[in-house]
């Protein structure tokens, strides 16, 4: 059952990813992206990461994709159906880069079976499942986040503040009087 669901989600995710790259209108690409994000959330559930699946749907497929859609509509790019692929030497370069990336990734993956990952895997998974039962799906993330990782968490808040200020400053129209 889990394998069937994984294959289903994987096919939808891959198809959506291809759709993002080949989609002619930006809105079509965006909707393919939402499909990819939603099926990735499904895969997160299969890996027992329920909180991340919820965050993926709410924050990624919800908030961030709506931000993209908002900008597409603000700039009125929704009916821009011209093909905008780069060609010539770019095609060659992209094939080389993509081939090399795929080669490196597959080469790295072939080694995962032999590493010690598999050996300790069952206990780690069992420990995570026990922690989920004890603290709940949110608590199991929140507990290390607010203890061991609290500095990173605070820095994350600072990063979001900086991003908000930067977005407002960048997107604001310039003043007429020469200042900014």
């Amino acid at each position: 059952m889990t394998d069937v669901l994984f294959i289903l989600f994987a096919v939808v995710a891959t198809g959506g990813a291809i759709g993002v790259v080949t989609g002619r209108s930006p809105v079509a690409s965006l909707l393919f992206m939402v499909a990819t994000l939603a099926s990735l959330a499904g895969i997160y559930v299969l890996f027992e990461a329920h909180f991340l699946a919820a965050i993926q749907v709410l924050v990624y497929a919800g908030a961030i994709m709506v931000l993209f859609l908002f900008v597409i509509m603000l700039l009125n790019l929704g009916h821009d159906y011209r093909a905008d692929l780069k060609y010539g030497s770019w095609t060659l370069l992209s094939l080389v880069v993509v081939g090399l990336t795929a080669g490196v990734l597959v080469h790295g993956l072939m080694g995962t079976e032999e590493t010690g990952l598999r050996a300790g895997g069952a206990e780690v998974a069992a420990a995570i499942d026990a922690a989920v039962v004890e603290k709940g799906a949110v608590g199991v993330i929140a507990d290390p986040l607010f203890t061991d990782w609290v500095v990173a968490f605070e820095l994350m808040g600072l990063l979001l503040l900086v991003a908000i200020v930067a977005a407002v400053v960048l997107a604001k129209p310039r003043d007429r009087e020469g200042g900014n």
């Binding site: 994987a10 995710a13 989609g23 690409s29 890996f47 993209f68 900008v71 700039l75 905008d84």
Partner: protein, 97 residues
């Protein structure tokens, strides 16, 4: 189920890389960068079953950085569009050598 998940992650990452290279529309290039971030997130989640809960924490951080990056990046795109009336990355090349 680790190896299939890592393979899917690699496939999505490569498709995202392809999109960043071949597309001209700045917004779609941004979408493809998000695709790459999500591929890495999938690898983190799959590996967290074997190494501990920290993998899921990293995904949380990556999502936050992605949100910040999307906000700033889209603001830059709006700012560029106001100046050049296009989001085609071949049309604005002042920073190229």
């Amino acid at each position: 189920m680790l190896t299939p998940a890592l393979l899917l992650s690699a496939v999505i990452f490569v498709i995202g890389t392809l999109g960043v290279i071949v597309r001209k529309n700045a917004i779609i290039i941004f979408l493809c960068i998000e695709l790459q971030l999500n591929a890495v997130n999938l690898a983190f989640v799959a590996l967290s079953r074997y190494t501990g809960i920290e993998g899921q924490l990293y995904v949380f951080f990556v999502m936050t950085v992605a949100a910040a990056e999307a906000a700033v990046g889209l603001a830059i795109i709006i700012s560029i569009f106001r100046h050049y009336e296009t989001v085609n990355v071949d049309k604005f090349n002042l920073l190229k050598w």
